[in-house]
Symmetry: C2
Subunit: 201 residues, 2 copies
């Protein structure tokens, strides 16, 4: 899912994506997608094994742009490791909120993918964990973090922020309250770290 796609495949994804967003996965037909691309239904299958794979590729594309933004935060030279950690988690919250809020079609699609392609969700969570681990390692090297196992700690931080990345909260709750609560969790993580840095001396 990280490799480059054919130009035709990109065209199919663009057309399919528009319809998924407007009408939802279920209400989008393969012949509609084919028409939008001025090709036959059969030809779609030269580029994607199934309709579900088009949806998966579309979702992957969205998560790829999210991962890029999160990676930029991790690589930002003007930010401290602590600032990166907070910005990473808050940005992930904001991106998810913007994606789902007031978008029942996207939400529906997300539910389908969670059922049909759970490995894909895990893969992207793993990649995000990898970026998070990088932030932690950088902080550890700089002496501002004290972390034994950065991969494990990244996973635990993802656990602690899990409530803020599960799509079903983005309807009911308003984002300000969520941001507030997430900030308090980050405060706790950073204070725990401060204590560990002290103890290590």
């Amino acid at each position: 899912m990280l490799e480059e796609l054919d130009e035709t495949a990109e065209q199919i994804l663009d057309a399919a994506g528009k319809r998924f967003i407007h009408y939802g996965y279920g209400k989008t037909t393969m012949s509609e997608i084919a028409n939008d691309c001025n090709m036959s239904t059969g030809n779609l299958y030269r580029y994607f094994p199934s309709k579900m794979d088009i949806a998966e590729a579309f979702a992957s594309r969205v998560r790829r742009t999210h991962l890029k933004e999160l990676t930029q935060i991790a690589e930002d030279r003007d930010r401290s490791p602590s600032g990166k950690l907070r910005e990473f988690l808050q940005t992930k919250l904001r991106l998810s909120y913007e994606l789902y809020h007031g978008n029942p079609r996207i939400y529906e699609m997300s539910q389908v993918i969670v059922i049909e392609r759970p490995e894909m969700i895990d893969e992207w969570a793993g990649r995000e964990g990898h970026v998070l681990a990088h932030i932690l390692e950088e902080g550890d090297k700089a002496g501002v973090f004290k972390i034994e196992d950065s991969a494990l700690m990244a996973k635990v931080i993802q656990d602690a922020a899990f409530r803020f990345s599960t799509s079903n909260i983005y309807y009911a709750e308003d984002i300000e309250q969520l941001q507030l609560e997430l900030d308090i969790i980050v405060d706790l993580l950073l204070d725990a770290n401060m204590y560990r840095v002290q103890q290590a001396k």
Copy 2:
């Protein structure tokens, strides 16, 4: 949901509960429940307004026993506030695991209740938060915790442990790994607190 029930109502709950566990909510009929109690279907409605209310009362009963166990931990004179916090969260994980693991019927029922009676879930989470807040306040008074707003901090701790109380993880994952990760989160919470106690001096 905290008040005492009629003896007949208890009998109905017992009979219904057995069938819910064995065959699930959907596959249990009102006339089966009535038969088990040697009464007519109509009479069930003298004690519960609907079948869903029987399910809700049954679920409430389960959560009441859980809350009792959690409250005992909070009131244990032989445990430190830190020990109580860890035991509270680990016990909640264990109780949920024992309830759901290998019990597809209970899981199914839980899903139905989440949809039909979301307020009931919130109410019990609120009550558990209340017990958690008590632990935090006790620690604060004893000087081992430094907490501004115990209700808010209880809510944030529940957020951070959210991943471990959402029922859908109890199938896939094994409990040892979950306990391990939860323990690390508790370590973080306690270390954050240690730092705050120090700073307050």
